[in-house]
């Protein structure tokens, strides 16, 4: 177990979870050190049990530190904090007196070549990050998996060495968030578990498994319970927890719709026993949120979580656990070196992420949103789940169908919000019924013929 006084990320979350509190976390990153510190201070002061985030900019993510430095020199605002371009002393000053045992800070980046980033975060005194050889490569880059996998292996090795200083390094798999939306839950769950197994193979002992809220709360609950069962089975010797991401696709544009979706994510996290939630703000549909909007989102989520009892109704078993299990085992059967097994699995299409354009992704699996709002496979390509999923059609999606699927959640929550406003106007009071779905469950996506 980790040493609490070092400010271990996993330990902080575990303590909160034992105390029955959901840890909430923003996405937050700005290029200037003073502003970055202000953001961290604001997060820490929020009325919530929060951990801090430094999200890096796109140049740093791609290893393009020349452009990151040039932007800093020219005073151009980046879309995140360039931790490699900044001097380590600058980052230590950003963190000084803010980050600590009661406020761990995680570096979020999205890089398939994270060694310079990991080296920089270690130099700054940090030891928590997120990503993975698959989840930070396929959706976000064109780097071959053959390169991303050894890059991530070396980065984990580097991070694991931090344990010698008494801190317990933590890595979160982003595998449960592939493409943000339209990836069926079974594959998300499998990728989260597989990446955490990869981290373990490279010396990491404290991990988190991610899952991004999708289109249907019952399906999401089932997926999270499957993820918990599989983590218990496959990671018995690690410190692990589950992190839920508030919906990552096209976000509602009405304030009430955006808040409603965030609150649903908080309730989902609590009901399914997750320990941490990544929030989204009311500004998400338009632009990078302000610190104040982030703090408001943290507090909204914490309040929604506090008022939710940890009672899991039976979400039913539609086969998510069996599907994820089949995928995990098919990859593990490819050999003892998980990095090599992951590369082979993508080459053979045993893992195949719908709508992912990366050259190493087979691109034969396809998904859609069914009439009940559940994510389903329309084509499984070579995914080894034929026995679980049953027959599918290979009808090609249309642009209109895909756009409808991509905006399904946005419309569900924005329509509910507008409906409430209309009712409040016409009746003179807000309705008590907070069901965000006004009953319109019309088919939203391209469906197999």
């Amino acid at each position: 177990m980790s040493v609490p006084e070092t400010g271990s990320f996993g330990d902080f979350v575990a303590r909160a979870h034992r105390a029955g509190t959901l840890v909430v976390q923003p996405r937050m990153g700005v290029s200037g050190p003073a502003a970055m510190r202000t953001g961290l201070v604001a997060t820490r002061k929020a009325t919530a049990t929060a951990v801090g985030t430094i999200t890096l900019d796109s140049y740093t993510r791609m290893g393009d530190n020349v452009n990151a430095r040039a932007a800093l020199a020219a005073g151009i605002e980046l879309n995140g904090y360039p931790i490699v371009a900044h001097d380590p002393a600058v980052t230590r000053a950003v963190l000084d007196g803010v980050a600590g045992p009661e406020f761990p800070v995680q570096i979020r980046h999205g890089s398939p070549c994270p060694e310079p980033i990991v080296a920089a975060l270690i130099q700054a005194g940090l030891h928590a990050t997120e990503g993975g050889p698959v989840s930070y490569c396929l959706p976000y880059s064109r780097m071959p998996l053959e390169d991303s996998i050894p890059n991530w292996a070396r980065s984990c090795d580097l991070l694991a060495d931090v344990r010698a200083t008494g801190a317990e390094p933590h890595v979160e798999s982003f595998g449960g968030c592939m493409m943000g939306q339209l990836c069926p839950p079974g594959l998300l769950v499998a990728l989260s578990v597989l990446e955490c197994l990869f981290f373990r193979q490279h010396g990491i002992r404290s991990v988190s498994l991610s899952y991004a809220q999708q289109t249907n709360p019952d399906q999401d609950t089932e997926a999270l319970l499957a993820l918990r069962r599989l983590a218990t089975q496959w990671l018995p010797d690690l410190d692990w927890h589950i992190v839920v991401y508030t919906y990552m696709g096209v976000y509602p544009r009405t304030p009430a719709g955006a808040t409603g979706l965030l609150e649903e994510a908080a309730r989902l996290a609590v009901r399914a026993g997750a320990a941490r939630l990544i929030v989204k703000t009311v500004a998400e549909g338009y632009r990078i949120p302000t610190f104040a909007e982030n703090v408001a989102a943290l507090e909204t989520a914490a309040l929604a979580a506090d008022s939710c009892l940890t009672i899991v109704g039976d979400p039913g078993d539609t086969g998510i656990h069996a599907e994820a299990s089949a995928l995990i085992e098919a990859v593990l059967d490819l050999g003892p070196d998980l990095g090599a097994a992951l590369a082979t699995a993508f080459r053979r299409g045993y893992l195949d992420v719908p709508y992912c354009l990366h050259p190493d992704n087979a691109g034969r699996a396809r998904s859609y949103v069914d009439s009940a709002g559940r994510l389903q496979w329309s084509s499984i390509g070579s995914l080894p789940i034929r026995g679980v999923v049953g027959p599918t059609s290979s009808a090609r999606p249309t642009a209109a169908g895909l756009l409808a699927a991509l905006s399904y959640v946005e419309r569900r929550f924005d329509n509910a919000s507008l409906e409430q406003e209309y009712q409040a106007d016409s009746v003179g009071s807000a309705p008590d019924d907070r069901d965000p779905d006004p009953g319109d469950r019309s088919p939203a996506a391209s469906r197999p013929a």
């Binding site: 796109s58 976000y140 939306q181 050259p359």
Partner: protein
């Protein structure tokens, strides 16, 4: 091929290179735009996420497309897009190729008229910012295909 006088559009439609910018990892915009263009009858070469400038140039030199579509939603599109078109226009073979850009181009929401003007002055035939909707893009492509857009 003289784009100013319109294109000899084959039964296969326009040849379109669809690309993001080097720092942009988003792809849903590219997936959707590919379908939109294909449904209009055009051939799409989708270069995917995080396309380095050199790769984008070499692919355009290889494919000699009728149209280059740059789509970016990470907020660096304005700066990266300006850099990109200067490189494209510096190649004689691509000096006249129609090129458009769209998406979320700045980190502070839809940009000002000045940033749009800078992009068109640099050579973009059109700028489709977030919120414009697809119709404007579709009609631009339609006009190009029948030779009315420059």
């Amino acid at each position: 091929m003289n784009h100013a006088e319109g294109l000899e559009v084959s039964a296969d439609g326009l040849s379109v290179v669809l690309t993001s910018v080097s720092s942009d990892s988003h792809t849903w915009n590219l997936v959707v735009l590919q379908l939109v263009l294909e449904e209009l009858g055009h051939q799409v070469h989708n270069l995917g996420a995080c396309v380095p400038d050199e790769l984008m140039i070499s692919e355009c030199l290889r494919l000699r497309p009728d149209l280059i579509v740059v789509s970016s939603v990470n907020g660096h599109g304005f700066h990266d897009g300006l850099r990109l078109i200067r490189q494209v226009r510096s190649r004689a073979e691509l000096a006249g190729t129609p090129m458009v850009i769209g998406g979320k181009l700045g980190i502070a929401g839809p940009g000002c008229d000045r940033s749009r003007a800078q992009l068109t002055a640099a050579g973009y035939g059109a700028v489709f910012e977030d919120g414009t909707g697809l119709t404007a893009f579709q009609s631009y492509v339609g006009r190009l295909a029948i030779g009315q857009a420059s």
